[in-house]
Symmetry: C2
Subunit: 345 residues, 2 copies
């Protein structure tokens, strides 16, 4: 693990980066030999014959990807979970991670301890260990980056490409809670009940990576992505990567009770469903499954308690064509460019 190689960096009353490594991060290795006790500049990953290593790297910036008043233990857990969600979509078995933290100047021990406690909590829940990384100071906002690694049987990683015409688009769990949860956390869902608002905000702050779908994906999926940028965007990218188009039926998009209640409150149901399908941060799995494999996939998912809905069909052509009860809908820019002007999505 690297220390704070920071000439001229102001340190002031801030917690010390070396002590952060020694006191807060070293315990997170769980004694993994790969981590070399965070006393080295590198980690060493032994060869695992018959397996490929899957690597994903995601960055989160305070004020962009999480809210400045989000508790840091939840931020840490979300950081791990959005990366775990990438592994889940690839049908990879989580193995370990590397962490880079740029702390705002004068970040004190209570915040750092809370962040480390969040990492520890989710490491336990997901069987993950810290292998290395870097900790530095920044004059800017808290900036986090995780490189997560996992294993898949050789040649078996489920890719974003590989869908075939006629494949079903299946989606796990519930869509739209991520975007509603963001609004809830920001206090912009006034018409909902306090219990619904809290449930949605929790869902935004703490995604549930669908790691249980590993066997279903390995056994029955041709292509997959996790729903981080919105179902329309992410399923659209599976289609695009596969050189195909996609027909998507909005009325089949699965909703939680809270999202269903929100949709009931909207005047235009089709537009409401489109907004939920365009929202991000659901961290469900969208995958392409051959028609003859669909029931086997759904059964394998149900065996681990994950509901699955069929929401579309891949076809020759390009682009996503969304419909509501048979009527086509314009979904021009929905979900394809987060934040590009629509601050209230």
């Amino acid at each position: 693990m690297s220390g704070p190689d920071a000439p001229g960096a102001p340190v002031g009353g801030a917690a010390d980066e070396f002590e952060t490594i020694a006191r807060l991060l070293r315990p997170l290795t769980g004694g993994a030999p790969e981590a070399l006790n965070l006393a080295d500049d590198a980690a060493v990953i032994p060869s695992r014959p018959g397996f490929d290593l899957v690597v994903s790297k995601d960055a989160l910036v305070c004020g962009v990807h999480f809210l400045p008043d989000d508790p840091l233990d939840l931020v840490a857990r979300k950081l791990l979970r959005v990366n775990l969600s990438d592994l889940a979509a690839k049908a990879a078995e989580p193995y370990g991670y590397f962490l880079a933290v740029a702390w705002p100047e004068n970040t004190g021990w209570p915040e750092r301890e809370r962040f480390a406690a969040g990492l520890a909590k989710d490491q336990d829940l997901f069987g993950l260990r810290l292998f290395g990384g870097d900790t530095v100071a920044t004059p800017g906002p808290l900036t986090l980056s995780v490189t997560i690694i996992g294993w898949v049987p050789q040649g078996r990683m489920v890719r974003r490409s590989g869908a075939q015409p006629g494949d079903h688009l299946l989606v796990s769990g519930e869509i739209g809670d991520g975007v509603l949860g963001l609004r809830a956390a920001q206090g912009r869902l006034a018409a909902m009940s306090p219990a619904e608002i809290e449930a949605l905000a929790d869902r935004y702050r703490l995604p549930r990576p669908r790691l249980g779908l590993r066997a279903a994906l390995l056994g029955h999926a041709r292509a997959a992505a996790d729903v981080s940028d919105g179902l329309l965007a992410d399923a659209g990218r599976v289609a695009e990567a596969s050189g195909l188009g996609l027909d998507l039926a909005l009325e089949q998009v699965p909703l939680s009770a809270a999202a269903a209640a929100w949709a009931e409150l909207q005047s235009d149901r089709a537009a409401a469903l489109a907004a939920l399908a365009a929202g991000g941060d659901d961290y469900e799995i969208a995958c392409a499954v051959a028609p003859e494999e669909a029931s086997a996939f759904i059964e394998a998912a149900r065996a681990v308690g994950v509901p699955v809905a069929r929401v579309g069909v891949f076809r020759q052509g390009r682009g996503v064509a969304a419909s509501f009860e048979g009527r086509p809908l314009a979904v021009d820019r929905l979900g394809y460019r987060h934040g590009a002007g629509d601050n209230d999505r």
Copy 2:
């Protein structure tokens, strides 16, 4: 590669993150199959029987690790080189890297293109390819993180620990140009000639990772670290990780012509040498070599054009004892806490 999963992020006139991936980053994969054309959420690293994977992750923050007016192509090259230097110290063969960039809002195409051009330049020089990563917006300063991976023969990674009492401390190249180069780049080396100032500033901006030492390290070193935080700090950490102390003779620390000229200008030569040995950003290799292996190491290094100096001896005990021509020197806090108060080191 991940896109800008950034709800509510201002985009304004800034360059588009998706186009950044498509136009600037995708060519940097060089068609590597591992990168899946940056069209997936993950990269896939095939098993390489008989080899371990070495992984290192380093973050750089504008205003902390590089200067706001440093040209972005040089920043990109420094980013790769500080990570390559970690691989060099581990005797690992560079393989590929993952990049996370948090761009300040409204970073335009010229800056992004210049950054990508720097990456392309050094990828060519070092035989490296981009495998994946993330690109996001930030309200803060440009923040960069690279996770670099390389290969070593199974079980052969050179660690920071492993030095034995009596081992020589050998150091490659020249020490002190990094810290003098920072001062030069900041215009704080007025007494030097313009040519010397330029040479030193270049050295700070563009480290030279000592990848040529791979065979020498694999064949003859017991432990090693790259000199990023200063020779005293980094060699001290090799001693500490090995459970040993270290005697270091400052008059034997190898200097460049420019650093030697600077040292001549100082009233206290011992203090001047201590300051150079406490400075950072040299990106040389400090290693522990058994006495009977020292000449073989030096010969192997010379065969690839790298000078090596013997500057110390590991011993039983703890801590670094520095001397100048036989007289002991206090080096209490030199180099062990960068930026912790000394803004003019």
